[in-house]
């Protein structure tokens, strides 16, 4: 047996929606004389049956007097419909403050997106919507999305030309730089960062490549050809959706490192009852998060410094301790002045620049 979902509480909303839809429907049809009912239904996102019910309802509405010349009238020609009398609702209702805000802010976001190719059209559209919304468009919202426009534009160009790409990519999780051939699908901006979503032929799966970690890029002659099994990422829950199969790491975190709870998706954050004074002030926090790779977690924890200790897993705690101890040993054997030996080659090789060293840890 199927149960109608989202019935409770949603009824009032859907009927208010129906009134809004009906007031829109007359001007919509007025602007498109002779439109097919099925086409209109698809366009309006309703079923054909729903649309016909809406038309029947409108047919008995009209001006006071409610005689044949007063009611909304329409002519049917097969499956096509034409409004022949609109009873005065010839225009849609003006935008509400929220509608104006939603459209204006979204257009500002688009216009601010680094490397956006159609900026001109976006800005013209924005001006027209702002004009139509009048004082409502004076949305008290400002948007700025700094980014590397050139790189994003290059990626976007490759997507539009439908070519495969050869990229040199730095994978921060494993701290390695690899070469791969990818079939680009789209460019996304999530959380202020640009990503290339592409089929990775090396990994044989869909991947999101952070634009600022693509160190080199060559457009190939062959067309991009993602296989049929390629599926776009579901971004409704953000870019990193921690999988329950991934290792769970628990850290004891001091005050100065609490910022990590705002930058990484954490599964649990709670004050450590065993720390701080009687009132709980100055308590350390127990923070649990899923990590894709323990090697990354090790670099992450070491990088956070003495304010953070690993509670679990014990394996990670041991690794952190061993790595720190080994590093100290290495310093003990290094000459303290650290000057390069006289004979060492000085022909510096210029490497990729512009990568931000502060993006993985410590940037806050």
């Amino acid at each position: 047996m199927t149960r109608p979902a989202q019935r409770s509480g949603g009824t009032a909303r859907t009927s208010a929606d129906r009134l809004a839809r009906l007031l829109n429907l007359v001007p919509y049809l007025l602007a498109r004389p002779g439109i097919e009912v099925s086409e209109a239904a698809t366009d309006l996102g309703v079923t054909e049956r729903q649309l016909r019910e809406d038309l029947e309802l409108l047919w008995v509405c009209g001006l006071p007097g409610y005689g044949p010349g007063d009611l909304i009238d329409m002519a049917f020609d097969g499956d096509r419909v034409t409004i022949t009398y609109d009873a005065g609702i010839d225009r849609p209702l003006r935008l509400t403050p929220d509608e104006a805000l939603a459209l204006v802010v979204a257009l500002r976001m688009l216009a601010e997106t680094p490397g956006m190719a159609n900026r001109d059209a976006i800005e013209r559209a924005l001006a027209k919507i702002e004009n139509a919304a009048g004082e409502l468009a004076d949305a008290p919202v400002a948007v700025r999305m700094p980014g590397d426009s050139d790189r994003v534009a290059a990626l976007h160009g490759a997507v539009q030309r439908g070519r495969a790409l050869r990229i040199t990519y730095y994978a921060a999780t494993r701290d390695e730089t690899t070469e791969r051939t990818v079939d680009p699908i789209r460019v996304l901006m999530v959380g202020g960062l640009a990503y290339l979503e592409a089929w990775c032929r090396r990994a044989e799966s869909m991947r999101l490549f952070r634009a600022d970690r693509i160190d080199a890029l060559v457009e190939l002659d062959e067309p991009a050809a993602a296989p049929p099994q390629a599926r776009l990422h579901d971004l409704s829950a953000g870019i990193f959706r921690p999988d329950q199969d991934l290792p769970l790491v628990t850290l004891r975190v001091g005050r100065s490192s609490r910022w990590i709870t705002e930058y990484y998706p954490c599964e649990r954050v709670e004050p450590d009852p065993g720390t701080g004074d009687a009132d709980g002030a100055g308590r350390e926090w127990l923070v649990s998060l899923r990590v894709t790779d323990l090697g990354w977690a090790r670099r992450f924890v070491l990088g956070l410094g003495p304010d953070v200790t690993v509670v679990a897993p014990a394996e990670l705690a041991d690794q952190v301790r061993e790595r720190a101890a080994a590093a100290l040993d290495a310093y003990a054997t290094l000459p303290p002045d650290g000057a390069p030996e006289p004979g060492a080659a000085r022909s510096g090789v210029e490497l990729a620049q512009g990568a931000d060293p502060a993006t993985t840890a410590g940037s806050h």
Partner: protein, 333 residues
């Protein structure tokens, strides 16, 4: 809402759009189908009044500009009408590429709070004759998310109402209660902030929306309570302290062969030697470079400058000591 109620409301809108004179409730009841009642029967009359109040509220909720006034100076009873000029969406002559941009913009909210408003706004543009291709894409899209406090704060900024909220910063222990005259909301690097005049600090302040406890914003006092400074640049209040870091310092590190790929890619110079690769790294803040280098453990050693080298060694010592304590505690407990 039943079909009859929807029908009644559509007729009410048409009736009030068609009149220039203000119509009293009694006149409306005598005209619009669905309001028939006996005005002399107190219970029946009261039921009508309740129904009419609900309908008016419904229309206002939808954004219908219901005007109130009296038909003449001699009328005591208020009447209602809808001015077509106020009701109707003005002409928006969008070119196809502009319409496509609006359609794409409206879709940006699909994962976030204003999705419903964006799609009903788009429906009105379609009704105004704009054709929006639902398949249109720019090949590049920002994914927009907002915090729960976004709606109430933008509304308060628009209405110029003072707000109050509890604000929790990660390095504080308890939330503090704040009162703010919000000038506007800012999206900077995909994070949302509210900028305004902090009444308790008596100074301009910005707050991160994600730190407002429960996203709960209460309004204090009446609309129109303040004026934002003329020509205020909201972004500058947020970006002032989040700006790019100048990296004029240079550190030289020794990196084990094949390791620390993350450092190699932002090195300004790299030279291979018998004991590893020497990298010259640009840096701004010594502490943040030190913490980054510590992450690589024994794969990276700092040669110079001494301040970075000492900071790294100090951190390594403390990390070792703290994890040694933990290991001892674990072994004994």
């Amino acid at each position: 809402m039943s079909r009859t109620r929807t029908e009644r409301l559509v007729n009410l809108v048409i009736c009030l759009l068609s009149t220039r004179r203000f119509l009293t409730a009694a006149q409306i009841a005598a005209t619009v189908p669905g309001y028939e009642h006996d005005p002399d029967d107190p219970r029946d009359h009261e039921a009508f009044q309740r129904k009419f109040e609900r309908d008016k509220a419904e229309l206002r909720e939808l954004g219908v500009p219901l005007e109130t006034g009296t038909a003449s100076a001699f009328d005591a009873e208020p009447g209602y009408r809808i001015a077509h000029r106020e009701y109707a969406l003005p002409e928006i002559p969008l070119e196809p590429d502009e319409a496509a941009a609006v359609g794409i913009a409206a879709r940006l909210w699909r994962h976030a709070g204003l999705a419903a408003a964006a799609s009903s706004g788009l429906a009105k543009l379609r009704a105004a004759g704009v054709d929006v291709d639902p398949q249109a894409t720019l090949g590049m899209e920002p994914v927009v998310t907002v915090d729960p406090a976004f709606g109430p704060l933008t509304a308060a900024a628009r209405d110029r109402r003072t707000v109050g909220f509890d604000y929790r910063v990660p390095d504080g222990d308890a939330p503090t209660s704040r009162r703010l005259q919000p000038w506007g909301v800012v999206c900077w690097r995909a994070r949302w902030y509210v900028v305004g005049h902090d009444l308790d600090r008596d100074a301009p302040r910005c707050f991160r929306l994600s730190r407002i406890v429960g996203g709960a914003v209460r309004t204090i006092g009446k609309p129109g309570a303040f004026e934002p400074p003329v020509g205020v640049d909201l972004i500058s209040h947020v970006a002032k302290w989040s700006g790019p870091v100048e990296r004029s310092g240079r550190a030289t590190v020794l990196v084990a062969p094949g390791r620390a790929a993350g450092l190699r890619r932002w090195a300004r110079e790299a030279t291979s030697g018998p004991d590893g690769d020497r990298l010259v790294l640009p840096y701004g803040d010594a502490e943040s470079l030190a913490s980054r280098l510590v992450g690589y453990g024994p794969d990276v050693r700092v040669l110079e400058p001494p301040e970075i080298r000492d900071a790294v060694i100090q951190r390594l010592k403390e990390i070792t000591a703290r994890h040694d304590e933990m290991a001892t505690a674990r072994a004994s407990g």
